[in-house]
């Protein structure tokens, strides 16, 4: 019985431990689909906090997909993988990802990452 008195509060404490509030990165990859068009963002996570003044946006989409990521324009190659490096300013930065196929189907996504030296 004494054993239970010690262990039970420990179990409850562990189960009820609060997760700190604030900006927490979302899980990756981020996967979006619109009809035949799909987009998978492997990195960065939305709300990621980065120590470097640039970020590599990596992902996958069907070959031939046209992507505009901030000021960069890409055509997804046959390997269905893409990557582009964007500069960051200190503080929050928006990354706007726009994907479209030849039929005009679109997927858009806006991520926010923070550069914190």
């Amino acid at each position: 019985m004494r054993f239970w008195k010690i262990i039970l509060p420990l179990i409850l404490l562990a189960a009820c431990a609060p997760v700190p509030a604030g900006v927490t990165p979302s899980p990756t990859p981020i996967e979006l689909t619109n009809g035949a068009l799909w987009l998978r963002i492997i990195s960065p996570a939305d709300e990621a906090i980065l120590a470097a003044p640039q970020v590599e946006v990596r992902g996958e989409a069907p070959a031939g997909t046209v992507l505009s990521i901030n000021n960069e324009i890409l055509i997804v190659p046959a390997e269905e993988e893409f990557a582009v490096t964007l500069p960051l300013e200190e503080g929050p930065n928006a990354i706007e990802i726009f994907a479209s196929d030849i039929e005009g189907t679109e997927i858009t996504l806006i991520l926010v990452v923070t550069y914190q030296p």
Binding site: F3, W4, I7, L10, I11, L13, A14, A15, A17, V19, P20, A21, G22, V23, T24, P25, E47, I49, G64, V66, S68, N71, I73, I75, E89, E90, G91, P92, N93, A94, E96, F98, S100, D101, I102, E103, G104, E106, T108, I110, V112, T114, Q116, P117
Partner: protein, 235 residues
């Protein structure tokens, strides 16, 4: 009884492991961030002002390690929410959990509103209801000073128009019959990218293209940021 005891110990270890992973996975800057109740404009957020000597030393160490934009000292913290109110001196965000946090704005606060272009914006442009991210410095008293504010666009700043070229004036303009049934004309400049480079000579009336340009909000003629020429074999 022994078997139950072993089970309990295992559950305890599992629980403690889960707790440790939750804490370690969370960004350090959020651990000490305390949100204030609703504030009036101009008020500063206050955080637990009573700190132990150890906590004060930690805060000083963080302060030394995180000096960044502006001359503002203090621990860097990040928030994301909806603008509840803003004036020349302060900005209040409503966070996802419904709580509010207020930041002081200074002359050094960098405000970026992507829909207004690359130029820095002023506090009056911070409209209630807009989503925003704030990078702030938190001093020893818990007061928050915004170092950078980003208004997160509700819609993409650009549009992709897919269609068939009906008129092409090299270096001047491009008109397409788009898949949405509308006709769009875009200006071409030396900054307009025509991709892929090995198909640039196929840009002519009848070519299937995607034109990337700023989202049309005024109804005026847009300048193409890029023109992507699709293979002739595709529909």
């Amino acid at each position: 009884m022994k078997r139950i005891s072993v089970l309990i110990v295992l559950l305890t270890i599992l629980g403690l492991f889960f707790t440790a992973t939750q804490v370690l996975a969370s960004p350090a800057e959020s651990v000490d961030a305390k949100k204030t109740p609703v504030h009036t404009p101009g008020a500063q957020a206050t955080v637990n002002a009573v700190k132990t000597p150890g906590a004060q030393a930690t805060a000083r160490a963080i302060q030394r390690a995180t000096e960044g934009i502006g001359n503002q000292h203090g621990k860097r913290v990040n928030y994301r929410g909806t603008i509840a109110s803003a004036d020349a001196a302060s900005l209040t965000l409503t966070l996802a959990d419904g709580s509010s946090v207020t930041f002081s704005l200074t002359a050094d606060t960098r405000i970026r509103i992507p829909t207004l272009g690359q130029t820095a914006a002023a506090a009056p442009a911070l409209m209630p209801g807009a989503k925003a991210g704030v990078h702030a410095a938190q001093d020893e008293t818990g007061a928050l000073t915004a170092l950078a504010v980003l208004v997160i666009p509700g819609k993409p700043l650009r549009a992709h128009r897919v269609g068939t070229v009906t008129d092409y004036q090299p270096g001047a303009s491009l008109t397409i019959q788009a898949t949405d049934g509308n006709t769009y004309t875009f200006l071409l400049t030396t900054a307009t990218e025509i991709l892929p480079a090995d198909r640039a000579n196929q840009l002519a009336a009848g070519a299937r293209v995607t034109v990337i340009a700023p989202r049309d909000v005024t109804g005026g003629v847009l300048t193409a940021r890029g023109v992507i020429i699709h293979p002739a074999s595709q529909p």
